[in-house]
């Protein structure tokens, strides 16, 4: 437990929570209670969080959901359902999202696509977060030279526009995989592109937090009690990084769903085993303008997911009082955490 009661009271005070002007009551709140109290009062974020959870459940249980709705599986073709000259047909009661050119049910395809899009975004973000934490701890803790080298690496990776690089990597690895098969075509290539595009902001935030926390009183207290550097790093500082990294990762998942969709829309990574939402949108293009629902409905699913992750992530940062978290080089970095989202792939 790294936060003492006075520290907590100070934090509560700084965050501007009004707890009936009773100082005593404020002190009695644990950080978790404080967080929950604030998050609960943010209705938009609460709704978004519920949607995020619902989407995750839908994605994980996609096969079950499809069966419960009485829909055919995403790969079941039924040419009888298509229109003239095998054209996609519009929404009906039996097929709420319509049917594609091969007679596959589009709602069922969209659910599986959501599952794949989410899986790719979450996996890529997880790799980026892990890498970012390691590099950020190194840069923040081991002073000057590792810091300079790591910021050079970050600037270097941020110089490459993600989509431009992504297209190139996709083309290089799309045919038969790269790095002797380690980067197989399909989802692994996209996860790799997502990971190298988003570890830099995580690193900046972790480094900034490590530098800031290193000056906090509880670290000084631990040091004066004779705690070893590794104990300070792993028992005092690291636990305080969990909340910001998780909250920021949720925002990153939103960004990375967009990136993944853009990459698959452009055909990066060859033919994945299933379709992602971006892939569905790309497929719909040749049936415009007749089959507008083919474009619109999968897009709305993607939009809903991205908005939900964005709003929930913003709400989490606000509830954790972390909007002010700054990357360690304020003049290079972003004005606040949320801004580290850049718009590369929209």
């Amino acid at each position: 437990m790294s936060l003492g009661a006075p520290e907590m009271a100070l934090r509560a005070e700084m965050s501007g929570t009004r707890v009936d002007a009773l100082a005593g009551q404020t002190e009695a709140l644990t950080p978790r209670q404080l967080f929950w109290r604030r998050f609960r009062s943010d209705r938009a974020a609460l709704v978004a969080a519920i949607i995020v959870i619902a989407l995750l459940v839908l994605a994980i249980a996609a096969p079950l959901v499809v069966r419960l709705l009485g829909l055919p599986g995403p790969d079941v073709q039924d040419v009888k359902l298509t229109g003239a000259f095998h054209s996609p047909t519009g929404p009906t009661l039996a097929h709420p999202f319509g049917v594609d050119q091969l007679g596959r049910d589009l709602l069922s395809r969209a659910l599986y696509a959501l599952r794949l899009s989410l899986a790719v975004a979450v996996a890529g973000t997880a790799v980026a977060a892990l890498l970012g934490c390691i590099l950020g701890l190194l840069a923040g803790w081991f002073g000057r030279w590792p810091g300079v080298v790591i910021s050079l690496v970050l600037d270097l990776f941020q110089a490459f526009p993600v989509l431009v690089l992504g297209l190139a990597l996709g083309a290089a690895c799309g045919a038969g995989g790269c790095v002797s098969g380690a980067l197989a075509p399909g989802a692994p290539v996209i996860i790799f592109i997502i990971a190298i595009s988003s570890f830099a902001p995580v690193t900046r935030i972790v480094r900034g937090q490590v530098l800031a926390l290193g000056e906090e009183e509880f670290v000084a207290a631990a040091r004066s009690l004779g705690a070893s550097p590794s104990r300070i790093l792993f028992r005092e500082i690291a636990p305080n990084l969990v909340a910001p990294v998780v909250a920021y990762s949720i925002l990153l998942i939103a960004t990375n769903m967009l990136l993944g969709a853009a990459l698959t829309f452009l055909g990066v990574g060859g033919e994945p085993p299933g379709s992602t939402l971006g892939g569905l949108i790309a497929e719909s293009r040749i049936y415009l303008p007749a089959a507008w629902w083919y474009l619109v409905l999968p897009g709305v699913v993607l939009l809903l997911a991205v908005v939900a992750f964005n709003v929930a992530g913003d709400g989490l940062l606000r509830a954790l009082n972390l909007q002010a978290v700054r990357p360690s080089r304020p003049h290079r970095g972003e004005s606040r955490v949320g801004s580290a989202r850049s718009s590369e792939w929209r």
Partner: protein, 336 residues
């Protein structure tokens, strides 16, 4: 004796800008070198097939393969290859030749530059105009309906995939497939010199598509910054001294609130280049983005290598310029 008041010492004036500028420029040069190195290594290591097999055409004989390898200098050790690559790049801006058409990559890029610049120029006008106006209105009406509605819309636009938005706009407004056919649709781009009027109307939808997301992000950030700045003591002092609120807002608050945003300009420009690929693909604009897309589809790695390198160099150079602009606007940043 008159009361002597100590002159306030401005801690920040002491640091001249020249040192900072020199440091940033050196950093930029180091980055450019590393960008070239990384690009080279990426394209040397990653592809399964080497350049020679890509270049030599379908099922080449061993002799042809050897000849192409020789001609492209692919047989030499990697450090010699990198040195040749760097020399060609610095001296002649030589980006190699397309594996597919055999044309110089430099020419391919320059041919398509006007279309991409047209696209980006419009966005660079629209994006700050809409972003700043929206942020100022929302910050002034903080918490009211217009603020909540505009910021809600901004979150949605910020979360909308550009390619999808572009297709939806085509579906709504394009003259060929739109429900409300008022604007030219895809494939209608003509050069500015050919017909300025058609150039302009053809680019309206692409501009809107690309600027919407950018303006949405910037207006959200700027609004939050503005709200914080308007609460600060010196703004209150200025207001208390009787200055008109709109004047304070525009002359003082916006200037301060916008400064930190110059720092992310470099990254944002990179974002625009990425967005250009999507928008040019959706609207069939013959720019660098669609060159990129076609090269990826055809597996033309040398064109991709060239565009990756040029895009990254563009981002580095603009990033350094943005940094310098930032410390010029905000001298506090020089100290770090």
């Amino acid at each position: 004796m008159a009361l002597r008041v100590a002159r306030p010492v401005n801690r920040y004036v002491a640091r001249p800008m020249s040192r900072y500028v020199a440091r940033r420029v050196l950093w930029g040069i180091a980055l450019l070198f590393l960008v070239a190195l990384l690009t080279f290594v990426f394209f040397y290591i990653l592809p399964n097939a080497n350049g020679a097999t890509l270049r030599a055409g379908p099922r080449p004989s061993a002799a042809v393969l050897a000849q192409v390898t020789q001609a492209l200098g692919l047989g030499k050790p990697i450090y010699t290859q990198f040195w040749d690559y760097l020399k060609g790049l610095v001296l002649h801006f030589d980006l190699g030749y397309s594996y597919v058409s055999g044309q110089p990559v430099r020419e391919l890029i320059f041919d398509r530059l006007p279309a991409t610049l047209s696209l980006i120029a419009g966005v660079v006008v629209l994006w700050p105009a809409v972003g700043i106006a929206l942020a100022v209105v929302c910050a002034a009406r903080r918490g009211r309906l217009i603020d909540r509605a505009a910021m809600g819309t901004a979150i949605v636009l910020n979360s909308t995939p550009a390619f999808w938005l572009g297709l939806i706009l085509l579906l709504l407004f394009a003259s060929d497939i739109g429900k409300l056919p008022i604007l030219p649709g895809a494939s209608s781009y003509v050069g500015l010199t050919v017909s300025p009027g058609r150039w302009f109307t053809a680019l309206i939808l692409p501009w809107l598509t690309l600027a919407a997301g950018q303006a949405a992000i910037s207006s959200r950030l700027l609004r939050d910054n503005l709200v914080a700045v308007m609460d600060s003591d010196y703004i209150r002092a200025e207001l208390a001294s009787g200055s008109a609120e709109w004047r304070v807002r525009w002359r003082h608050a916006v200037r301060v609130a916008i400064t930190p945003m110059t720092a992310i300009l470099g990254v944002e420009i990179g974002g625009l280049l990425g967005g250009a690929i999507l928008v040019e693909t959706v609207f069939s604009i013959p720019g660098i983005g669609s060159l990129n897309y076609q090269a990826a589809a055809a597996g033309d790695l040398s064109v991709l290598e060239g565009t990756v390198l040029v895009a990254a160099m563009f981002v580095v150079v603009l990033g350094v310029l943005a940094d310098i602009a930032h410390v010029w606007l905000d001298p506090r940043a020089r100290s770090s």
